[in-house]
Amino acid sequence: MSGETILEVRDLRVSFSLRGRRLTALRGASLDLRRGETLAVVGESGSGKSVLAKTFLGMLDRNGRVDSGSIFFDGKDLAGYSKERDWLAIRGKRIAMIFQDPMTALNPLKTVGEQIREAAALHRGLDRAASRAVVLETLDRVGIPDPELRYRQYPHEFSGGMRQRAVIAAAVACRPEILICDEPTTALDVTVQAQILDLIKSLQRELGMTVLFITHDLGVVASVAQRVAVMYSGQVIEEGTVREVFYDPRAPYTWALLASLPQLGVKGEELYSIRGTPPSLFKEVVGDAFAPRNPRALEVDFRFEPPVFPVSDTHWARTWLLDPRAPRIEAPETVRRLRARLARGTDGPETAGGGGAATGGGDSVQGGAE
């Protein structure tokens, strides 16, 4: 891991006005994205994952705004950008994004090649022939056979997997430094999912991109990412390497998340599920947002918001449990088993230092968990 931070998000607050009410989507989210890594952002629906990614591109809906905080990218604070022209220099060119549903992410009336070429020509200032060559090369790179033919075809002539490849080609054609993948495999069937994940991994390696991977599928996290950020209710509550977060989680929400994974459950036992619902984003959250749903919540969780406690150089969590004054609280059974497995060192991924190797190791979290 090069370790150099390419994108630094600090205390980002984003809110939307909805019919006179304020919905706070991000309540001081902080995140570090390091050059060349794959960071997975996980969280349930409404935790603010997608909003976070959209702020990086200045693509919040009209009623949304960044209230405070900063997004440092290449020495500039993107949170302060308001002019469309400023964003046009970032979007697609330096930070690109892949959307969830490949079936609707392509304009049905334009050939696939032309759609990819549009962005490539725009950002690289290439003429028609040169940008066409770039597109053909990119189509080939993302594993679309017979690019010459595919270039001239329309989206409806592509299968789901091929469309997602085309969408990825459009995103990487301009060689962005950061690629944001917003649940790129959710709409695909499982076999195609694996192919697309492999593709993203190999593209990242070949092009040296930094990937921000948004997902709610922990299995996907394990197979693509080196580091994980767990989001809950508009905050990043735990961030660390895949190994640290998956095998030695510290925040009660991460515990609950892992405990509710069917793969980690014990056969014959009832599967754990997190009770209750996330707090209303219309109201101000007092204390730890997860406290009302947390059976192990402390008194302090209901009063004060937990600060960030470092666990290691690469691992931190927002929970009062890490405060020296906190009582010792036993983690759930599932988490204890994971820790024991880590201590034995029999499986689990290598630490994220191994670059590409770490992604390979990541698969064993899935394998080992079954």
Binding site: G92, L106, P108, Q115
Partner: protein, 311 residues
């Protein structure tokens, strides 16, 4: 993978717009009403194009002025000289009908085309940008909706000065809200499509997104509205002409022709239907023209409207 490979062997196909169009045409001409509508319009088109041959103007520099023999105020019935009879002051009805066709097309197409352009621009602005722009444009449209069109049109034509050009101008001023509403509602749907988001995320500018991605995907409804509206436009123009706001007597315009005959709708007591041809012929022509456009518009809607279109 093998599945995907098999698919690739297909030849690249035509533009989907074109494919859809070919499909639509096939559908279109299966319907007998379409054929009737299209034939009517074709008939009028031939009249308009070959007007100089069908009714050679005695004064080529001013062909829209109907020729007349004498100033006799009593219309004459169809005869060998005047196949469809004459208006008061002996204006030849057949000549008026033929040259009036050109005017009918001019009014219908000019008004609809201008409305389309204005509607597309305003609708795109309102739909794509939303917010205050949307609010201003659509509230103005609402104001236009709140005033009865015919009354407003009369007032405006009188203000500008009567004549066919004024009628066209006024119909353009009054017609845009319908188009703007339709195009706006379509754009509201398309705007939230993922491919628009994807285009934005890859750094495509607003103007380019509207022109290259949104417009081509949202023109279908507006085409239907436009085709249905040609007939309506002619009717309103004829109504304004009939009310005396159109051209002067002797100008080859169907509405004006009917207007000239206002005093002869009912004949003398001994023969109430003596002047039937006066109102009937231009009136029937207008009706036929409007019917043609409506049938065509209906057919286009049947084919293009996604709710009507069945595969």
């Amino acid at each position: 993978m093998s599945n995907e490979n098999a698919q690739i062997i297909e030849k690249p196909s035509a533009h989907p717009l074109w494919k859809e169009f070919a499909f639509s045409m096939k559908r279109l001409f299966k319907n007998p009403l379409t054929i009737i509508g299209a034939s009517i319009i074709l008939f009028f088109l031939i009249l308009a194009i070959f007007a100089p041959l069908l009714a050679p103007p005695p004064r080529p520099f001013d062909p829209y002025l109907m020729p007349h023999k004498g100033w006799d105020m009593t219309p004459s019935p169809p005869s060998a000289d005047n196949w469809l009879g004459t208006l008061p002051s002996q204006y030849d009805i057949l000549y008026g009908i033929i040259w009036g066709t050109r005017n009918a097309f001019r009014i219908g197409l000019a008004v609809v085309a201008a409305n389309l352009i204005v509607g597309l621009i305003l609708g795109a602005l309102a739909g794509y940008f939303g917010g205050i722009v949307d609010e201003i444009i659509m509230r103005i449209a609402d104001i236009f909706y709140a005033i009865p069109t015919l009354v407003m049109a009369m007032a405006l034509v009188v203000a500008i000065g009567r004549g066919l050009t004024s009628i066209v101008l006024v119909l353009i001023i009054l017609g845009w809200p319908t188009y703007t509403r339709v195009i706006r509602s379509d754009i509201l749907v398309i705007r939230n499509m993922d491919y628009i988001m994807a285009a934005r995320a890859s750094g495509v500018s607003h103007l380019r997104i509207i022109m290259r991605h949104i417009m081509p995907n949202s023109v279908f409804s507006i085409i239907i509205v436009a085709s249905m509206n040609v007939g309506v436009t002619i009717l309103v123009a004829a109504a304004l002409s009939f009310l005396g706001l159109g051209s002067d007597t002797g100008y080859a315009d169907w509405g004006a022709m009917v207007s000239t005959c206002r005093d002869f709708i009912v004949g003398p007591p001994e023969n109430r239907l003596a002047y039937w041809y006066l109102v009937f012929i231009p009136g029937f022509t207008i009706a036929l023209f409007v019917l043609g456009w409506n049938l065509l518009g209906d057919a286009i809607r049947d084919v293009f409207d996604p709710r009507m279109r069945r595969r």
